[in-house]
């Protein structure tokens, strides 16, 4: 297996998962790139999370009654799932089809929503939108339970079009009108949730979606050029067949999995960075009858994906989860994960609690002077901890390169173990100088583990390591 194979698999696993230690990359490279993609796209072929063990030790993960516990559990899943793309697609949809804890009647509803993203998120976008429209977390978050026949609340109808399917516009034109928003809102009247049981004294209970025909606007509506006595289902049926929806889904997939795109508000007037790639994804959207897995298959096996190494700034979740996965911490439930999970929040991504219905801006907007310091401090702390099993493995592997290493060998060995990272010549020269400055690098010396750890810390502090 060539270094190229490892490098490509490392790229795939950073995007379709949360990275992987070198031994996993080698095993996957031996299996082959396309076979790895096929496995990732077939999560059911891998074992599920052992939730019984998770809930035995983390008792609050059964009730999922609080934000912190949910963030912690999701982080644990992202670190340990044998179905990494299933967790990644859940993160993807959470960043697009947004609900937030700040306006959530019962936190567990968001956990149930994530389960829907896991199970439906790689299937039909048509089915996913239908599920979303009936998702109690969403119905409450965007006030559809407050939208009544004769007194509509447009919140859900508007965001469904603007942020969840069509987008404001494309190629310089608007995708829908204000009348379409009103028609959608009218069609979804009566789509509500059951009255909830109060929190005290025994905690909340799952809400249920319900359709109240007495509160449904049965009048004629005109929506995106079609006229009829539409209900919410009809609206979704019309939405998914729009070219704008294909563009919207394609650009989001590209932005999340391939390379940073302009932010969503600019999409009406700013063309995609790679129009040909987006066109391929749009075509697959229609060819596959709106199937997300089929689009991802095209995406991951394309030349433009393979050429897009380090073309994305890692999100805070990717940074924290990828680091913890690399260093081998929290493979089994234990205390302390809540504090680790907080780092995702400190870096600017309060999972399950995004700032607005638009979610988070991505790319370089993840980085500012504060979040940069959080990022570097966190990653440096982790890779510099020689007690972590993953760091020990790296030290042993680098140490096996020979009794005495050159500075180049130390730098290259560490880069490979961090996921075949590629860095600029300038950065590389600085790292080699740093490695050489401490004198001879004997792998049997007492100080060798610390020299490896120090080099790992130096690498994760580089600009290049901000990218995936």
């Amino acid at each position: 297996m060539s270094d190229q194979d490892i490098s490509l698999i490392a790229h795939l696993m950073r995007r379709a998962g949360f990275g992987a230690p070198l031994e996993e990359l080698q095993a996957r490279a031996a299996k082959g790139y396309d076979a790895t993609v096929d496995e990732l796209l077939d999560p059911e072929s891998q074992p599920p999370m052992e939730r019984d063990i998770m809930m035995r030790y983390k008792v609050d993960w059964l009730s999922q009654a609080g934000l912190e516990g949910q963030q912690e559990e999701w982080t644990y899943r992202m670190i340990n799932s044998k179905r990494p793309l299933q967790e990644k697609i859940a993160l993807f949809w959470h960043c697009v089809l947004v609900t937030g804890h700040a306006k959530c009647e019962y936190p567990k509803q968001q956990a149930l929503e994530l389960d829907m993203f896991r199970t439906v998120g790689m299937g039909s976008f048509h089915e996913l939108l239908n599920g979303l429209a009936k998702d109690p977390a969403m119905v409450f978050y965007l006030d559809n339970c407050m939208s009544h026949a004769g007194a509509i609340n447009e919140n859900w109808g508007r965001e469904l079009l603007e942020l969840f399917s069509l987008g404001v516009g494309m190629d310089g034109d608007f995708n829908y009108s204000e009348d379409d928003v009103k028609a959608a809102a009218r069609a979804f009247t009566g789509w509500t949730v059951t009255n909830s049981i109060p929190r005290y004294p025994y905690g909340k209970y799952d809400a249920k979606f319900m359709f109240d025909p007495r509160d449904h606007d049965t009048g004629e509506k005109t929506f995106l050029g079609e006229t009829g006595n539409f209900n919410g289902q009809d609206i979704v049926d019309i939405i998914v067949k729009q070219p704008a929806t294909a563009r919207f889904v394609a650009r989001h997939l590209y932005n999340f999995f391939v390379a940073d795109e302009p932010q969503v508000p600019a999409w009406k007037d700013t063309p995609p960075n790679d129009a040909a790639a987006i066109k391929e994804l749009e075509d697959e959207y229609f060819r596959s009858n709106y199937n997300i897995s089929s689009m991802l298959n095209v995406l991951f096996k394309s030349d433009w994906f393979k050429a897009a190494k380090f073309a994305k700034v890692k999100s805070p979740a990717e940074t924290v989860v990828g680091t913890l996965k690399l260093v081998g911490d929290f493979k089994f439930p234990r205390p302390g994960l809540d504090m680790m999970t907080m780092n995702i929040r400190f870096m600017g991504q309060d999972l399950l609690n995004p700032p607005t219905v638009e979610g988070w801006h991505t790319g370089r907007e993840w980085i500012d002077s504060g979040t940069l310091v959080e990022r570097i401090n966190f990653t440096a702390d982790q890779v510099g901890n020689v007690n972590h099993s993953g760091v020990k493995n790296i030290i042993n592997r680098v140490g096996s390169l020979g009794p005495v290493l050159t500075a180049d060998q130390l730098v290259d060995g560490c880069l490979e173990n961090l996921g075949a990272y590629q860095i600029s010549d300038v950065t590389r020269t600085q790292l080699v100088e740093l490695a050489a400055a401490e004198g001879e690098i004997r792998t049997d010396s007492e100080g060798f583990p610390l020299r490896v750890a120090t080099m790992l810390q130096s690498i994760v502090a580089t600009t290049e390591y901000l990218f995936a």
Partner: protein, 342 residues
């Protein structure tokens, strides 16, 4: 068709508790120990991000709040835990010795701490993480025998160990596996009036019974959701008549078996408004109105993740539900006919 008439009759009695971080109430209760008179010690597991919820709540079966002790304490970092005397991180169970001192297992610290019934810290066994004789890996259920020897379910080592009250290792039995006398992450334990030991063999979805010296006697149960089947049983208790009660965790129910392990019946929950719950609702009167409007309120009766079961000498069965911050209490009915003369 024959009709079998069982002499075992278990009825719902009442509900105790409510969710509270402080004072009267519970925070993820995982175990109930019954003291003398009407005292009960409720072990609250709490959460790591609100460690003040980790504690023992002491109250009566009539919901008279008495005190709280053994509070969880914040730790300094993800790998630095508070090891101070009396602190708890992941408490799992309480065993009462003959003087009603409390021994509490902590499956993260691998530590056994003891407290007086008033909550005074008495001591702790020396640190003993490991796999050797007398060493522990995630201790869970515990029970004293009539001689004040302590049996500890050493869950991570898939075995049961016996100690004297001072922590001296006496014997062990069990190993990893699914055969007779083997365990897969066992959890709860109880000792019946004959000194026989019952273990909730958690990941094998069964109950095993042993003699006091660890000889395998019998087993019952298998994976599933049917009658007599289990989905990760957490706790087991035996009453004075030999009736066996099992907290069937992920099936959300309490199952009842005769002394031979034959299925007798099950309870899926009948919770009502406890005294403390009523106090809370009265103080937040709008919630009474919310309850009136609520749809699906009947779900409030159901068990959700029963994490243990304790039987007292009055035939009362206490089932803590960590996810609901309450304890459902059932009562065994006497099999002796006590009606008027015909």
């Amino acid at each position: 068709m024959t009709t079998e008439i069982s002499h075992i009759n278990v009825q719902y009695s009442k509900t105790i508790g409510r969710g509270e971080q402080f004072g009267p109430g519970f925070n993820y209760p995982v175990f109930v120990a019954r003291g003398k008179d009407d005292i009960m010690y409720v072990l609250c597991r709490g959460t790591e991000f609100r460690p003040e919820g980790v504690r023992v709540t002491v109250c009566t079966t009539e919901e008279e709040y008495i005190t709280t002790f053994a509070r969880g304490v914040n730790y300094q970092g993800p790998h630095e835990f508070n090891m101070d005397d009396g602190s708890l991180v992941w408490p799992t169970s309480i065993a009462l010795d003959s003087h009603e001192n409390l021994f509490i297992s902590d499956e993260w610290l691998n530590r056994i701490s003891s407290f007086s019934k008033d909550g005074d810290f008495l001591g702790k066994w020396e640190e003993r993480s490991g796999t050797g004789d007398g060493e522990l890996d995630r201790p869970s259920g515990m029970a004293f025998d009539a001689d004040d020897n302590l049996y500890i379910v050493d869950s991570g080592n898939h075995r049961v160990q016996k100690f004297n009250k001072d922590g001296k290792f006496l014997m062990k039995f069990g190993e990893y596996g699914s055969g007779d006398g083997q365990f897969d992450m066992p959890w709860g334990i109880t000792i019946d009036s004959h000194g026989d030991i019952f273990i909730a063999d958690w990941r094998n979805d069964r109950i095993q019974k042993f003699s006091p010296d660890g000889t395998f006697l019998m087993k019952f149960g298998e994976s599933g959701s049917g009658e007599g089947q289990f989905n990760r049983p957490t706790g087991v208790a035996v009453d004075r008549d030999g009736v066996i009660y099992v907290a069937d965790w992920l099936n959300d129910r309490l199952q009842i078996f005769d002394e031979n392990g034959n299925f007798v019946g099950l309870k899926t929950g009948e919770a009502g408004i406890s005294k403390w719950a009523k106090d809370k609702l009265d103080a937040n009167a709008e919630m009474w109105e919310e309850r009136r409007r609520a749809q699906g309120l009947e779900r409030e009766k159901d068990f959700w993740g029963p994490t243990g079961v304790t039987v007292d000498d009055q035939g009362r069965i206490f089932v803590p539900e960590s996810a609901r911050n309450r304890i459902q209490v059932y009562q065994t009915q006497s099999s002796t006919f006590a009606g008027p003369r015909l």
